[in-house]
């Protein structure tokens, strides 16, 4: 996800290690690496320049507090400035409200509308959606199909060309719903008639929230587009979509800066449950290459029964094949492994790339193989010798080589998790951030 950016930042930070005084050259190098990393993440060039100036100034002027090393001091400044850049999360209240979705063509408004409907539905609210996209063919069918899967009423009329009329009628006929989400047609800042249209829609709907949907891959355009949308309907929240690709979502930060709002949600997959609440600390932590345990636990609580994956036991190092089995089973609900791993607080520990390189079909195979193991083997894989491997392979219809591969994978995961727990002699980001009392 945001790992690439994290890696370059980590490299930059590493260069500060062992320095006893804040040395100008090292800080400048760090700032330069930071600039390159952020620019590659599509953060607005002007914002990056402001940020790096602030960091440079503070790092050179402020004295490190007693007992804090230079690296911790500088890193703390970097962290605080990044927190300021990212901003706080936009507010989401669980109460009756109307939400108006806005964004560029193809940013993922319709998919996100359905995901939001699902989110509020799960929180126990009566949700309904209105499809005000009268332009794109198939838009109503798309939203209607997605909503009928989760039994959310969807108002729309593919034959009607007047979006305003649809919104007016929709609000009337859905008045019993507590949360109404209005999906609109994609538009961009230079299409003045469409900007006019969304202003009119807002005049009719007087939505409490106007959320701007931003593709994680959007580049330097983000600032300008966000400004125009903000001028039109006063955006009060930003949703980043397509975070499951390799894009880092830096463009959305410019949108946040322009609209002076916060990121409310992050979309990270194609299924209707792939929507997370935005957590600024988690976002930054990922930037810095530190995982975010909170987001993982939150998500685990929502989608899993407590017994299924015991994250804490895993982090204590009690990671058996059984845990891995549960984990693989949970993966379909929690998203790709990499996503989960990126949320674990792995500190500055490197997980070998091939640990992620496991496709869903392979996971299926692993689960079948593990189904052929005994309970004792699942709890203590060290008893598995070559004759047991033979038996397991026969039972699962797999080759012994596949069973060995599974065991290798297990060992790799176990080693990785051990590194998380220990942190002895290593630079422990988690502990350090605690020392700062929340960073901000």
């Amino acid at each position: 996800m945001l790992d690439r950016l994290g890696t370059s930042l980590k490299d930059a930070v590493k260069k500060l290690a062992g320095k006893t005084v804040v040395d100008r050259a090292a800080v400048e190098e760090l700032v330069r690496d930071l600039q390159r990393a952020l620019i590659q993440a599509d953060v607005n060039v002007r914002l990056v320049m402001q940020l790096s100036e602030a960091i440079k100034k503070r790092a050179l002027e402020e004295q490190p507090p007693k007992g804090m090393t230079v690296r911790e001091h500088v890193l703390r400044i970097v962290y605080q400035e990044l927190v300021r850049l990212v901003g706080s999360a936009g507010e989401v209240k669980l109460e009756p409200q109307v939400i108006l979705m806005a964004g560029l063509q193809g940013s993922g408004k319709t998919t996100t509308t359905a995901k939001l409907a699902r989110y509020f539905q799960r929180k126990g609210l009566r949700v309904a959606v209105i499809c005000a996209d009268t332009f794109r063919p198939g838009a109503f069918d798309q939203l209607n199909t997605l909503c009928s899967r989760i039994h959310v009423p969807c108002f729309g009329n593919p034959g009607e060309k007047d979006a305003l009329k649809i919104v007016r009628e929709g609000l009337k006929s859905l008045s019993s719903a507590e949360v109404i989400i209005i999906d609109t047609q994609g538009r961009h800042a230079l299409e003045s008639d469409l900007i006019r249209e969304i202003i009119d829609i807002q005049a009719i709907a007087s939505a409490q929230h106007r959320w701007l949907v931003i593709d994680a891959a959007l580049g330097q355009q983000a600032a300008e587009q966000a400004r125009k949308f903000h001028e039109a309907i006063s955006i009060d929240g930003v949703i980043i979509t397509k975070m499951d690709g390799t894009a880092k979502g830096g463009g959305a930060l410019s949108a946040v800066a322009e609209t002076r709002s916060g990121i409310v949600f992050i979309g990270s997959g194609e299924t209707i449950d792939d929507l997370e609440r935005f957590d600024p600390d988690g976002f930054i932590s990922r930037l810095l290459g530190m995982g975010d345990l909170k987001a993982l636990v939150e998500k685990a609580e929502e989608t899993l029964a407590a017994a299924e994956v015991d994250v804490n036991a895993m982090l204590r190092g009690k990671f058996s094949l059984r845990d891995m089995y549960n984990q693989l089973e949970a993966v379909t609900r929690m998203g790709p492994l990499k996503q989960i791993m990126s949320m674990l607080p792995l500190g500055n520990m490197e997980i070998p790339e091939d640990a992620y390189d496991i496709t869903s079909t392979k996971m299926q195979r692993y689960r079948i193989i593990m189904d052929s193991m005994t309970a004792a083997e699942m709890d203590d894989p060290s008893v598995i010798g070559s004759s047991r491997i033979q038996r397991i392979a026969r039972g699962a219809g797999a080759s012994p080589e596949e069973v060995r591969e599974l065991l290798r994978y297990y060992k790799m995961m176990k080693r990785a998790l051990k590194g998380v727990r220990g942190g002895q002699g290593r630079f422990n980001m988690q502990r350090m951030l605690k020392k700062f009392g929340g960073g901000t």
Partner: protein
């Protein structure tokens, strides 16, 4: 198009010229001071051998060097301009390197207009990055029919709309076209392409939602063969390059329909990620040409420059709006001329 980048680039060429120009004023004074104040320049020349050689060159050949220092600042500005216009960082670095190499160490004849040197350096760098265009019409003319064209790309870049636009474009050029509705995943995708095809009067081959896209596209090719149709346009579902199973599905589609051209579709507003995903698509299923959509959203052309440079494949079309006619063939030479305002 690309007005933003253009105006900034023109400003930069101006500033590069100014910097280089600043090194010139020394020259006439040296010539003049031959008799009255000859001591001062000579002294300076002794201290600085490079200056000495420069003065020498000046006097003997009436030429002079452009040193790296002279162009440092404007080049940094140029880099900022490129970055602000969504040229990916590694690509921007590459362009800067080329311009710097091209400019520095160059001996400049006094009579030669500065404007030309600077613009030429920039033009060379941009042209070598943008590559050649791709003429789809002549490709189809010179190729065995039906020409099978597969459209790929990540979610939400506008593949389906682009397929409709290209279909309309080819139809206008007098070719017969059939569309294969290979996006069987996204809800509403089939309805979307149906409506487009209906409006354009083009046949669509489709199965129901959730069907195997390879089978759909295979049928589309068979239909085209049986009906002597010129071009098959194969739409596919958007997919992220880091999803191994979805990329495998695309690989299977490629094996089954055996396309003549694989067209990678991305949006002109994409930032640095454009480079990463273009590279991944090119690596896994290949790409013969690129179509950039949503070029009307902005006046920057960074993504075009980045993608073309990264995968070394020509840009075929630009999508410039929501209508069927909003598609223009991409000509690198014209774009560069436009950016640098050479005609002006």
């Amino acid at each position: 198009m690309f007005e933003g980048l253009r105006s900034r680039l023109q400003k930069i060429t101006g500033s590069l010229e100014d910097r280089i120009e600043q090194t010139i004023p020394a020259e006439p004074s040296v010539e003049k001071t031959g008799v009255p104040g000859g001591a001062a320049p000579a002294e300076a020349a002794e201290k600085d051998p490079s200056l000495l050689s420069r003065v020498k060159v000046l006097i003997t050949d009436r030429e002079f060097f452009i040193s790296e220092k002279d162009v440092e600042e404007p080049l940094f500005e140029l880099q900022m301009v490129l970055l602000e216009n969504d040229v990916a960082l590694p690509v921007a670095d590459e362009i800067i390197r080329r311009v710097r190499e091209d400019l520095t160490g160059k001996r400049r004849k006094i009579g030669e207009p500065l404007h030309e040197i600077v613009t030429a350096a920039l033009r060379n760098a941009l042209m070598s990055v943008l590559g050649d265009g791709f003429d789809l019409v002549s490709y189809i003319r010179n190729h065995e029919r039906p020409v099978r064209i597969l459209f790929t790309g990540v979610n939400g870049t506008g593949k389906t709309t682009t397929v409709a636009k290209v279909a309309a474009y080819l139809k206008k050029q007098g070719f017969s076209v059939v569309i294969g509705a290979g996006d069987t995943f996204r809800a509403g995708a089939l309805e979307q392409i149906d409506v487009h095809a209906d409006r354009l009067g083009i046949k669509v081959i489709q199965h129901q939602q959730g069907a195997d896209p390879s089978a759909v596209l295979f049928d589309a090719v068979s239909y085209a063969k049986a009906h002597r149709i010129d071009a098959v346009l194969a739409d596919t579902a958007g997919r992220f390059h880091n999803r191994a199973n979805l990329m495998n599905q695309l690989e299977k589609i490629r094996r089954v329909m055996n396309p003549d051209l694989i067209v990678y579709v991305d949006e002109a507003v994409a930032g640095n990620d454009a480079v990463i995903r273009a590279h991944e698509f090119d690596r896994t299923v290949g790409a013969d040409a690129v179509i950039l959509t949503k070029a009307d959203m902005d006046s920057r052309g960074g993504a075009a420059i980045s993608i073309a440079h990264t995968i070394g494949k020509p840009v075929m079309f630009l999508g410039t709006g929501q209508g069927y006619d909003d598609i223009v063939p991409f000509s690198p030479a014209r774009v560069v001329e436009e950016l640098l305002g050479v005609s002006a």
